[in-house]
Symmetry: C2
Amino acid sequence: MTGRDLVSNAVQDYLKVIYKLANAPHAAEKVTTSVLAERMKVSAASASNMIKKLAEIRLLRHAPYQGVELTEAGEKIALEIIRYHRLLELYLRDALGYDWDQVDEEADRLEHAISEDFEKRIDIALGHPTVGAHGEPIPTKNGDIAVHRYHRLSDLGTGQRACIRQVSDRNPEMLRYLDESGLVLGTKIEIREKVPFKGPLLLLALEAGREQHIGLEVAESVFVEMA
Amino acid sequence: MTGRDLVSNAVQDYLKVIYKLANAPHAAEKVTTSVLAERMKVSAASASNMIKKLAEIRLLRHAPYQGVELTEAGEKIALEIIRYHRLLELYLRDALGYDWDQVDEEADRLEHAISEDFEKRIDIALGHPTVGAHGEPIPTKNGDIAVHRYHRLSDLGTGQRACIRQVSDRNPEMLRYLDESGLVLGTKIEIREKVPFKGPLLLLALEAGREQHIGLEVAESVFVEMA
DNA sequence: TCGATATTTTCGTCATAGCTAAACTTTTCT
DNA sequence: AGAAAAGTTTAGCTATGACGAAAATATCGA
């Protein structure tokens, strides 16, 4: 029996999204009702009601108009779900041949359906991975999660070198684009040119030796480790 | 988009159970509210309400006090779910090392969560199987299902020989017992002795050459093909 | 055939989780 | 500072799917 089993799928989803909003790379804004509502694709009223309920059962703290913050209990459940999700994504890709732009959607549904036994079995099959399909850290069974302080690709300056370590999984189309462009995890790149005022970046992929322009939105979705 | 996606999980579960009750080997009684309620572990009132609803949306026909019968549309959805369930059971066993007494429960939850794409991938990984983990026929994508006319082991007489082809998946404990006793799919057996008045059977496992007594409840859960 | 028993249905409720509209704070802009 | 904009909460509604109690119907036994 895990903490997850004590709450509904809807509650699990809210907790997961709140955790992700609060802990996304470079997204330290507080988690407000409206931001949460937008992400969950529900009305602000619905989000507000759910927040109230989650505060009552002590899964988060809520100062009206001030945003929410998960309690330890809430974070524990969120990390369980996130662990399940990321293990599933890896399994779908490695064992069943999914592409990295397809795994998020399928994992979103499966994460609520699998047992701890299933989790254990795929964890073993994958060799106890610590990093997910898009470079995200996978929480341990105990709820520990590695905190990487990667930089946004868009924050680098001309001449800097870096290695792609994580990409946002929010947009499957962008993931397909990145894949086609060879901008996958582990790719080493150098910034050749940066057009000011939100212009594109000119990138050099170091190993392939290929140059290409990428837009700002893409550069903001790619996280790198500085060389 | 499959028929399944148009109805709730609860509806899918009812349709699946109705199909199974109507088509179980040697269970030609009509499907009544109380039998359905018992199987679904809900009150008779709940089952009656659901039957009414399913009749309204034309997934089954219902003559009050007379039992139910699936329409073509209802049967189509039921067979989809059953296909997903049986493919999942096989996959859990073959790819993830589950025992045959564990797969039913896990598949019950997963069957509502997987996509058609997932179904296709595990179907391929399994080599397009036609028979499930407990010997049940697996419906095709088109909704065709093989009808085996197996006999209950309990219906055989002394001296008759047969091969175990299917077992009821209703009771995990019994599945474990069968496994430990070597009474798995494909085992050839001979009835050595049959104690009258619901007494036990004395079985000979032909290949292992081992004799053993089995109770009536077990013998009613094992289905065989006559030699 | 009539009445007892068993089964089925109906009725009124509850909980979850979503929605819109309207009211109410807070923040921001002039 | 005051008003508009933005964000939040409340109130009232919807749908699903469960429940128990009570009413309706069917079946079986004498």
